[in-house]
Symmetry: D2
Subunit: 260 residues, 4 copies
């Protein structure tokens, strides 16, 4: 028993040293994004096809290549399975990767996933050879359905995108983690470090976040905080926390102690 955990974080055939995945949306500029990526220690970053011109020079992709960080294209802005599948295929061409963060959104107010379209798109993309990482709600049944159609991970939200509300339903997140046989990545809704720690303590394999870092007052500092948070939460889960007790328990028992 030592202070280290020997448990790799593997998605499909790829192993990661970092359990933090960053989104790029909301970053003020490339310099800030570079500082945040370095401070976060991340090894994979999501990129919206709709926002990036992959052929353009001096941009985001060059930066990610220079930093040795993997690109995970997403299908942000897609409202139907058909749109998402088409976007994923374009992204495969543009970015030269068959990994995709699958997003199929139901409406612009909540940006919540449309479970029915999502499962349908996931099934098609898996059949088409993609490594699919679907952004989903926190419903354990939808998570299982995504796993059963062959997704390489499931990525339930903590709360709606950009709300910073943190883990709205720890019970559902627990149920998902207990039952999943693929990595569970907490995606969306993280506001601050303690949210990320709790997700890891509940059993998530990794955390994906964007605006919590990119829109913080000091993105680089928050990126560093999140790196520590994810490591801390992972260690805490494996360290076996003490049980919760209703009444107190002295850490310094008094038995056999001289009366002063």
């Amino acid at each position: 028993m030592t202070g280290e955990v020997n448990e790799a974080f593997r998605i499909a055939d790829k192993e990661f040293g970092s359990r933090l995945i960053l989104g790029t949306g909301g970053a003020a500029n490339l310099a800030q994004l570079e500082a945040s990526i370095k401070a976060s220690g991340t090894e994979m970053v999501t990129v919206a096809l709709r926002r990036v011109d992959p052929s353009g020079p001096g941009g985001l992709l060059e930066l990610l290549e220079r930093l040795g960080v993997a690109v995970l294209p997403n299908t942000a802005g897609c409202y139907t399975a058909e749109q998402a599948v088409r976007t994923a295929r374009l992204a495969r061409e543009a970015f030269g990767t068959d990994w995709v963060k699958l997003e199929v959104i139901a409406d612009p107010d909540t940006l919540l996933p449309d479970a029915i379209e999502l499962v349908s798109a996931a099934e098609k993309l898996v059949a088409d050879g993609f490594t699919v990482l679907p952004y989903t709600n926190d419903d354990p049944v939808t998570a299982r359905a995504l796993e059963e159609v062959g997704c390489a991970a499931v990525m339930p939200l903590a709360a709606p995108i950009g709300t910073g509300l943190g883990l709205r339903n720890p019970h559902n997140m627990s149920l998902i983690c207990e039952r999943a046989r693929v990595p569970v990545i907490c995606d969306a809704g993280i506001g601050t470090a303690s949210d990320a720690v709790r997700a890891m303590e509940l059993g998530c394999s990794a955390v994906l976040l964007a605006t919590a870092v990119t829109r913080a007052e000091n993105p680089e500092l928050m990126a560093r905080s999140m790196r520590l948070a994810v490591e801390s939460g992972f260690a805490a889960r494996h360290a076996g926390r003490i049980p919760r007790r209703h009444l107190a328990r002295a850490s310094s028992p008094e038995e056999g102690v001289a009366d002063l």
Copy 2:
């Protein structure tokens, strides 16, 4: 704006690099305690006079000296101001330090502080030249009273000792941190890493814990988790978190995006 915070953690005239203080109670043996202290990065450890024979060889004090860790004697097991003052004076002789973690407990079931006896003891010890760090409940008024009688820090509980219940009243902890002009150290009740992060996010300067580490299944690993937690929470507070929002906000806005 960079990824570092330049804010020292100072109690009285002493500056600390680590914002984690460990209790020794509950440790299975010295080897385990040594591993935990190293993994935690702590620079100060509390010791119960009633449990330790300071003159004994090969024991706890030798270990702490070898590790270069400061000793903070506590008055665990005292039920009145008079007992606590007497114990503090014995500890000063025994350990050669005028620092004291002041505990005055009301009853063995809750181990909660007795606010009235506590303030009285603090006043006497300050007058006697002690650097007093009182373990208190989470009442903002008692915290202020302790500050006003000259305590060098205030140490409100997250929850009763050994319960592992985490921060029972974040609102009170916030009020204490906003109003204090001495360091606020969250003491007791921490169960896991996310509890420590939240305490730091709310404005605590440091966290003191014992059983969360010493009674974890893997104390060394939990000690490492807590070190990361305290750093993460401190960074998160200074990084300026995003506001909480009821509705979603896209991290990848769609304006000006081609329709696929």
Copy 3:
């Protein structure tokens, strides 16, 4: 402005005086169920076709008829849309009503709804002339989909059936209530009275519960408690609660007060 609210609770073409719907599952015997129904003030009770022999004498249906309480057949125990549709049709024959509480469950451990099968079954039953009240998860997107296929109400869970965990995700419940144009009925997971009050405060039109009453130590007393809870929460929502404040506000201001 008076102490009454003039807002009827209407599902389809039927108006209800009570905003509490009871499930019969778990009741120890008919006498206890009768006492609970009376104490609850409910006007509609769910009945599992699979558990009841509608043609049998002296049973549940006779009791409900005698008490003048409407029967809402459910499709408990169905795992596919096809099963549920078939069960609903049998129930229509057996109970002489085209109202149905639609349940399509994904697995026996969580008893959570299968959103995809549920929406599919709802669509078929609406087309077949049923008044459909679907038991659903707390996903706002699924709730909207059920409304769009023509359900007469949506019935999101507070927590999984029989857990008594109360409202696991108040944020989702709020989003559902804000956006729905049909009644939202909180269904499943209620453990105690405060859970029911919170559901009503968040905007639910009614609460449906079974085991919270039938398996309480004193079912009749808990039924009475739930009746009061639902009325209290409904009144509180319409009364316009005070805003939450971080600092205190005197109820008895001191301005112009003589110094004693």
Copy 4:
């Protein structure tokens, strides 16, 4: 076992049919206050000596007398034991009652009680023949001290006065209720009906609130809601709630059911 509870609510030698006590502070006018008092069903109302001219005609006291509601003078606005004791004595003269709601406040921002001054004032007033109902923080040790000096009840806050934050520390409130041998009345911080229900479910004998009703948009309706809330929570506690479960439990078990 029936739907009623036979447990009287008694303070000192007085028995009350209602477990709701109202404060008058914040009421817009006497007509509104009258409507709220009637809707609440309360039998005792607190009055600030500093705000009321007991000899004035047509005022609050006439109203309370006409409604047959007992007056409980409070010592609002007192910052020391001495002030509070003096105010209590003036109130005894003015209102002709030796009952007093004892408030000793530490500062105007939080309006939190000063535990040390409070216990000191309580002791003096008990010795002087008063029936003392002290407004206190939620510290179980202070609650016990107040009981030990002879208070007729203890009245811990849910949250600071006027904040509407609800029960900030249910664990402390539980500890107080479990250990008290006098009635525990939850006083201050209630915002809405569910807060009152939870206080009663945790074991409080009654709830005292003012601004939650007087400053609600519709005070009369909120008063009615609070009456129902207090009754509901009291019944729920005595009804013996179901245990919380991590996994689901069918209310309609399927054993012995025909396969459709």
